[in-house]
């Protein structure tokens, strides 16, 4: 890869020798640039995949969906099932089969035999029970705790059969099976503390350096025969998106996780790179309203806000066209998605002004809070500010640091409107209205408290897994109340070198690198 052109020098021979020595030392022996990458065309074994991501992994949230863990969950661990991306039917992983009772309150899972954890211990039914009990613990963070808590009885029929009983039918049971990595019951405490990472997945953790990255090596005892192809994976933290892009362009890394959308788009047309937009489409940008702050206590004003915002501009200018504008939270894969309803609100300042005027809120002062650690949110907040000024409101921006923002998001202290991003829109709608904080019917970021909403959420949750129901009333209610105004349904992205092939992911965006390989 390196070419050295050392010209003969008549004078300053010693200087030339010194320079040459330096060049040889620096580049001649071996290189930090091309350490990874091997193989010929077609699936080949070997090579170390280098991944860059913007934040350090967060072991304390391994049972949650949390973006910094996307490269770890399905590479080090396995889940019970994985949805087929086209049909959304669960497919076997560590569970090879299952029987759901007709009333949806009981399920028997048959588990894969011959699976071993990285410490050599056999995977059994006890590990599944332990993981579900961990999700039920109050001190363990997970968005699907409501599902785990709906399991009122569980038992191991034998070493490889688990029976779960639910207090009521749960439509998003398989969402939990897909999101929940099965952990080793003997080392779970060390996992939360980032000390030990024992899973059943295709790669084993060799070293975790907090703040810097993780080194993984191939699990030769992996239960999928002849997989993985890669010898190892290096995950490193690059806090700047531009640095991630440079790392990819220099060949030092082959996969950048969730670069800033505009950086990802900058290489979309370059044949040396691939920008994979997750078909889960679970990165939804929205404007929320704290309904306790006047004039946002009036639904008419919230609808006026929804009409005022130029979603197309946000999609193109801040997200580089990744995604689609929508008034609903759902991904197109969601059973609740409706094309017509998704197009309800568009940029119409006349309607916005009329609604705001009817509510007597013209000229009212509003604040828009956002997480300042995320540049895309700031850009969106600025567009929203501009649009709302056009609609006759006086708006100021309030940038907040992440802990402050999230503290206020959950504590109800946001000063008016807020710009943020949510997920959980791609699978069962119950996961959104029971698990994602902006929409949680029991307690949400907007302080929106409604018996009608709770009843609607219950109606889509207490349905046997796999059965459909009518989501029209829920959509109509969400569109009417607008305590959350969805703007753009976008995607997490995996920007890869064209040398990297067969990058997979599940519907929670956990990287699946069983079949991934590096070509020369």
């Amino acid at each position: 890869m390196f070419q050295h052109h050392v010209r003969p020098m008549r004078r300053g021979r010693s200087a030339a020798t010194a320079l040459l020595t330096c060049a040889l030392v620096l580049t001649g022996c071996k290189s930090a640039v091309d350490e990874s990458g091997s193989g010929s065309s077609g699936p080949v074994r070997g090579g170390t995949l280098s991944i860059v991501q913007s934040a350090d992994i967060a072991p304390a949230t391994f049972l949650s969906q949390n973006n910094p863990n996307f490269a770890m969950i399905r590479t080090v661990f396995n889940t019970l099932t994985a949805y087929d991306h086209d049909t959304l039917k669960p497919q076997p992983e560590l569970a090879t089969g299952w029987d759901v009772s007709e009333d949806g309150t009981s399920i028997t899972l048959r588990l894969r035999e011959g699976v071993r954890f990285h410490n050599g211990r056999d995977f059994t039914a006890d590990d599944v029970l332990f993981t579900i009990r961990a999700m039920q613990r109050e001190d363990v963070a997970t968005q699907l705790k409501h599902v785990a808590l709906a399991i009122d009885d569980m038992s191991a029929v034998d070493d490889h059969t688990v029976r779960l009983h639910l207090s009521h039918p749960v439509s998003n049971l398989f969402d939990m099976f897909e999101m929940m990595p099965i952990v080793d019951k003997d080392t779970f405490g060390d996992l939360l503390a980032g000390k030990k990472f024992i899973g059943t997945g295709p790669f084993k953790v060799v070293r975790y350096t907090p703040g810097s990255g993780v080194k993984l090596v191939r699990n030769d005892d992996y239960w999928v025969k002849n997989r993985p192809y890669l010898d190892g994976i290096d995950i490193s933290v690059q806090s700047q998106s531009q640095s991630m892009l440079s790392s990819l362009k220099s060949g030092e890394s082959q996969l950048a996780l969730d670069m800033a959308p505009l950086d990802a788009v900058s290489v979309r047309d370059d044949p040396r790179y691939n920008v994979i937009e997750s078909d889960a489409n679970d990165s939804v940008y929205y404007v929320g309203s704290n309904v306790a702050i006047p004039p946002l206590d009036k639904p008419g004003v919230r609808r006026g806000v929804a009409w005022a915002i130029d979603r197309g501009r946000i999609l193109n200018q801040t997200l580089g066209g990744i995604g689609q504008t929508s008034s609903l939270p759902w991904s197109t894969s969601s059973p609740a998605y409706g094309k017509d309803q998704a197009a309800t609100y568009r940029h119409d300042l006349d309607k916005a002004k009329a609604l705001i005027g009817q509510a007597g809120a013209t000229g009212a002062r509003l604040k828009i809070a956002y997480n300042a650690g995320f540049a895309t949110n700031q850009a969106i907040a600025e567009i929203v500010q501009f649009n709302l000024k056009q609609a006759g409101l006086r708006v100021t921006l309030v940038p907040l640091q992440a802990p402050d923002f999230f503290s206020k998001l959950t504590g109800g202290g946001l000063p008016g409107l807020f710009v943020n991003v949510h997920g959980f829109n791609q699978l069962s709608p119950a996961t959104e209205v029971k698990g994602a904080f902006p929409f949680n019917a029991d307690k949400n970021a907007s302080g929106f408290d409604s018996d009608r909403y709770r009843a609607l959420a219950k109606s889509v949750w207490e349905v046997p897994a796999g059965q459909d129901t009518d989501y029209g009333p829920l959509n109509t209610f969400l569109l009417d109340q607008q305590f959350v105004s969805d703007l753009v349904v976008s995607s997490h992205t995996y920007t890869t070198s064209s040398k990297l092939h067969k990058v997979g992911y599940n519907m929670f965006d956990y990287l699946d690198l069983d079949d991934a390989y590096l070509s020369r």
């Binding site: 290189s31 930090a32 001190d139 963070a141 703040g211 220099s250 030092e252 907040l400 402050d404």
Partner: protein, 316 residues
Amino acid sequence: MLRYAARRVPSAVVVLLVASVIVFIVPRLAEGDAADVLAGPDASDATRDAVRADLGLTRNPVVQYLIWLRGLFTGDLGTSYIRKQPAGEAIGAALGQTVTLTLAALLIALVLGGLAGIVMGTGRSPVLTRAVNSLVSLAFAVPPYVSGVLLVLLFAVSIRLLPASGYQAVYDDPVIALQYLVMPAVCLGLPTAAVIARFLAASVRQVQDEEFVRTGLAKGLSRRRLVRAHIVPNALPPVLTVLGIQVGQLLGGAIVVEAIFGWHGIGDLLVNSVLSRDYVLVQDLLLFTVAVFVVVQVLTDLAHASIDPRVRLEVR
């Protein structure tokens, strides 16, 4: 002298104690805490409360302060809330990166700045002097966040000679470590090299007018020997004074360069600790910074007192 030291040291201890109170209180004034970060954005209040209790954040703040202070006196800097690793370990690893980068940049600054300063100061070749002068002006004017990006585009993206970002410890693999080090060190060292070059050039010009230089010339010393053995050594003292100030600036500048090249030094650690409300690390890092300044100040005062008896007498 001992009496002077006995008077000076207790006041330093008081400063450190007051600083420890301030660095304990200030991070807690910001909204949100480590439990908000650890529990994740969708966590329930109950989960946050459980995490908060587990971290010990629900204890009386005075108790938290005393536990931390007791740890400091026994050599235990505490455990990071977010990283779950001993704070001393985290700070040591980050400090290693920052010090490596700063020393490498200093070396580059000394070599490049020294050579350029001599060329500019002696001014024997007008063409070479003008060329070096222009390069020095450029190095002086271009900040590290610009030169860093340009270096990455040129040497990592265009010709793929060096890695764009990352770090490897010297003891792991010196060759690879050197490759990771070159661009950040050059980027950080260039402005300092320019400063050294200018000061050295001015100092060399001044020394060249000294009588002993003319004497040397009259005695028939070669120009090269005169510069090497007499002019440069006599021109160095003012440059060394400037160098002392520049080392502090290099440490500060390292924070920006670390961000560009994906290094995880002290700056990166402090910023991330503040943003994640990792109080233990923030307190330790801030107090460490204060302690460095206090110790340096005390040592300077003691040195001053040992040289100048009037200082010691003032204390009496």
